[in-house]
Symmetry: C4
């Protein structure tokens, strides 16, 4: 079994067994203002939105997670079938293994998603660090692998810095992103993986022509935390220590959403999004959609119905939030009144 | 036993057995300023106030709760006898069952209140959602049922949204309210049931001609919490989950009181009011009176004396607060100095 | 044994046995700024101050506590001997019993203080509520009883309101105070007993000609708490309940000190002062001295040496605070730099 | 064994056995802003800095700790060997014992550092209180003792005030410092020992010509705490009590760093610095380097490798912070974006 694929396996196991979530997204500091007289029918609220011209039944995204190991085929199948059934978007995990290794079973762990979800909005995933070595044709190959509707490029330098074997050369990434954004046949999303994107970085990405920014801020899954456990397992004490130290590093998701939305009109809020209410808050703060990764992992293991069930709960929570704020559509939800309190208020005030 | 009445029974049982109160009314963030030299006699303080021309011995309201099931007759009797004895106001629970079902025992659960409280200020209760289907004559019937001094129309759309069988059509409510406010023989109070009323909604209600607004804000009884328990009991997992998620949804009572009082001169503060000191704070914030529901439920089960006892304790707490702020009358209490701290201060600052 | 004297006995017992202290003086929100280079000799710091022309070795006051029951003679003896030895000020408890009852043993519980402390600054104590009934000659009698250097008039209307038998007529107090302040042979201090004095009340007292204000703010001994225990013991449920409800009522001592010092130049800070560091903070906030009651009660029971020991610890803490802020005198300490944080900062900002 | 040396031994033992750390440096209120696209190679980040023309491999300082007792030779050897190996700076503990006592073993506890670290940046240590009695030649002797690259003068008057035998005469220190700063052959650092240096004191030190200021603020090792334990051991109750009372006295390290850096361009941040991330924050706030004392004590007891290991972990944490803020050099780190939250924000706002 090649290293890249094995690593994915390690990660999934650690995420299932250890405490790999932080807190502090800032959503608890956001209060949507109750509308006692909504004057709408809950069941006629329109939760649809569009992403690059593709309609989603609800502004909910299953964030990039797995693929790259035969054992993940089952997970991706469940996620994709559920996306197909419910009409939401889904990303696959890093396609590096699929691109670099020549193993049919492994490649199937990605291709399965399009097989079972012919109509869903599916997007691919490559790392910015790898991008420097790829040319656009390689990325196009990743697109084709799943007939992707878009391609996500992930930024995860803190994670790389904690991995004993991590790729810590971050030079040239912005150029590489610009190159791909320019030439690729599908829209490009740039995403973090749990530490957020600042206003100035979002501006640079907007200038580079990326089509969407997925903030993946602080408060949910912590990759430095995960790598710290993995380092501990192989006796890499220093990495273990550094991973712990940076466990809660990053820009809180609510803050990052506000900052990115100030400079880009297609922002996905993720990182610790844990309910349809969080999704509603993210949209009120300016996001186009909310994304969740870890909460889908358990249900994916149980099968498609469990994933569908989670999506429907999220959708009903979102719909309920829209109902009691009187928002008949996602566009209205973006304009709903809210208050920002506590540390998140302080954070935003400091950043102005 | 018809459904509506049974539901009321479920509710009362859950409220007695489960944890159905949240926190965060904001009253803990309000400090009335001590007056070391009050220059008044405590026992000559005038706690009377008027509601629609009717004098109350104290600005304390027993909020809308029961009726609609024969088993509640005893509760309403105790509450009404106590209101009569102490000179405060009392509302009955939703009269829907009384209007829609033809059952003498059931109707008696409402009519008992006027029988035992010929002089008390008593007000009826209908839901805004039902109102759309009623014409004014139906509401007038509810008035007559208890010879009501006023009629409360409740807004409870979050609760409806959590109920599996809930009425989630909120369209036309404002028009229906305006229609009733215009034509009814008695004043109309519009009330929430635990999620509060914002400044803009209060403005719409004022424009519709309602005579009073009862904010019933966040921090006391949580109806999404209650419906969550009820959903759990019938295995409605998704509703259970949504109910939990919105358990603490709403505008804190102190905030809602300030907002509503900014646009309407007859505001009742309720939702988590738990003492005469809270009532005093509410009045300093601009309310005409303070209302309590859940705290009266236990005493009502024990009988009239227990209810009277609670009212007298509340009244003495209020009187004591007036004494040590040097307020000789409710009008003076409205002008007393106070400070707003913490999250409530932040909330109000954000909303300005 | 007459009622007044017995009550004093009850109080002392409850204070020794129950939890009768609140928190929230605000001193924890005050940080004196460290001076790493004080450029003074600690042992040459001058901690003396004057009160009405009388020099105190340190600006520390043993607040009004006991007297009025033969069992308290021993306590007052220890306190007075210690005041004499250490050169600080001391007040006796309410002299009402001494004035109204004709009992030699009882009177001795007051007179003992001057017997054992011929040179100490000692001040008497009468209640504002009683004052209305007394003429100046009666108060003069209280002065003579202990050859008082000043007379304290206490305001304790919250306590009275919680006592089943309390005197809740607060009318005419300000006039009575003005009358006494005008005519008495010694300076008049007006003091609260744990709920603080606001800026506006301090202004009225200043206008009435009182010579000092002792704020006795919120955060230390709670008299509503104490009376609540006493009410419980006699089965007065409603008073017990009201006492609990107002347990933490009042203006935080730090806030009250700032407010009173803004309008009067002789302010004693008390109410939850628990160390020489608190005294130093109070002086930086504008007080002339800091006073403590409850902390002296235990040592008083043990005897003079224990009281002296506490005073010397307080004095050393104060001296240490002066040393590390570089304040060579009390006048310099009043000008030392400090920061105000948290809720106290909010409170003061709201009151400006 | 002479007193000074024994005292050092006591201290080390207490620090190892008791809880002698406070919290509240303020670093937890500082958030460096994540840079998702750093565009640098982690391993090419330049962490070097210069101190008085001497290059350090990283801006990390082993703060003044031991020497003066034969048992500390082993500790100083390990610390110095590690400083030599890793290229960071190190201070020795107070050289008073070395200067005043004629004991070869004891002197060796200092001289060992230069023996094993011929190239490291090493600095000496004398107390400001002693300085008044020394002339420049005595201090020069201390420099020669370890061929020091600089001399630290410590300010520790709170500690002295808690010691039963402490030197509490702080007069003339500033003059003495100025005299030494003027005439000494090496640069002079003035340092606190855990209570911080205010902006105004830093200004006075800058005017006196000192070359660097080491703030040693509140939040780490507490010397009043340590002396409180020592006082307890000898039954000095009052000192024990005063020590406890002032346990958390001082200016938070983050605040002190900002204040000192506003008026001096060579500030070392210390006092509760506990990671390379704290060092990074300190530099962003304006410090030239970060220093740690207590965290090195345990490793020093284990030997050189343990100390090197800690330094390398600190250095990697710092490097990681630089990587994920996109800072390619210490100069860039000083310009990195950060937010200040909570109490530290309030503190700084109050001090402006
Ligand atoms: C099991 C798992 C695997 C992940 N793999 C990838 C990945 O391959 N590529 C990527 O861009 N992000 C990956 N992520 C990060 C997520 O896409 C997301 O940004 C992050 O977990 C924060 O969201 P969460 O708090 O909802 O988990 C993964 C997350 C999880 C939990
Ligand atoms: C047992 C119970 C029954 C209630 N029934 C009604 C009702 O029928 N109609 C209504 O408008 N509100 C109803 N309410 C809501 C209350 O009137 C009130 O708005 C809410 O409970 C908040 O007040 P509290 O925190 O003091 O309980 C009920 C509350 C309780 C506790
Ligand atoms: C045992 C005891 C008796 C007291 N008796 C009196 C009194 O007779 N007259 C008075 O003015 N205050 C009296 N006080 C109030 C104190 O003078 C003081 O204002 C209050 O206790 C707050 O200070 P502390 O928190 O340090 O106790 C008494 C306090 C205590 C603890
Ligand atoms: C064991 C020990 C001994 C110390 N001895 C000295 C000393 O001799 N001279 C000095 O200036 N500071 C001395 N200090 C203070 C430190 O240099 C430093 O300023 C302080 O401990 C705060 O840093 P920390 O929180 O990282 O320990 C000592 C600290 C410790 C822990």
């Amino acid at each position: 079994m090649p290293e890249t694929a094995d690593r994915k396996d390690d990660h999934v196991r650690i995420i299932e067994e250890e405490d790999v979530e932080t807190s502090g997204t800032g959503f608890a500091d956001i209060d949507l203002v109750h509308e006692a007289l909504p004057e709408i029918h809950r069941d006629e609220i329109d939760t649809t939105t569009t992403l690059f011209g593709h309609e989603l039944a609800a502004p909910i995204v299953i964030e990039s997670m797995t693929g790259g190991h035969p054992s993940t085929t089952k997970l991706n199948r469940a996620l994709a079938e559920a996306a197909q059934r419910t009409g939401i978007a889904m990303g696959v995990g890093s396609q590096r293994a699929g691109l670099e290794l020549d193993d049919e079973d492994l490649v199937e762990s990605y291709t399965i998603v399009r097989d079972v979800a012919p109509d869903a909005f599916l997007y691919g995933n490559v790392g910015a660090a790898q991008l420097v070595e790829y040319d656009v044709a390689d990325v196009e190959e990743a697109v084709e692998m799943i007939e992707a509707d878009a391609m996500a490029i992930h930024l995860n330098f803190l994670q790389e810095a904690v991995q004993p074997e991590g790729d810590v050369d971050a030079r040239g990434c912005l150029d590489a992103i610009e190159r791909v954004a320019d030439a690729l046949s599908v829209p490009v999303i740039v995403k973090e993986t749990g530490n957020g994107i600042s206003r100035s970085t979002a501006t640079r990405l907007a200038d580079a022509g990326v089509d969407a920014i997925d903030v993946a801020g602080k408060g949910g899954t912590t990759w430095s935390g995960i790598e710290s456990y993995r380092a501990a397992a192989v006796g890499a004490d220093r990495q273990e220590q550094v991973g712990k130290r940076f466990r809660a590093w990053g820009i809180p998701t609510a803050v990052s959403t506000v900052e990115a939305a100030a400079v880009h009109n297609c922002v996905v809020a993720s990182g610790g999004v844990r309910s349809g209410l969080d999704v509603a808050k993210a949209i009120a703060l300016g996001a186009r959609a909310g994304g969740l990764a870890k909460p889908f992992l358990g249900p994916a293991g149980q099968g498609t119905d469990a994933v569908v069930d989670l999506i429907e709960t999220l959708a009903l929570e979102l719909r309920t939030a829209m109902f009691v704020t009187g928002a008949a559509s996602i566009a209205e939800l973006r304009e709903t009144e809210y208050v920002v309190l506590g540390r998140t208020k302080e954070y935003l005030a400091e950043r102005r």
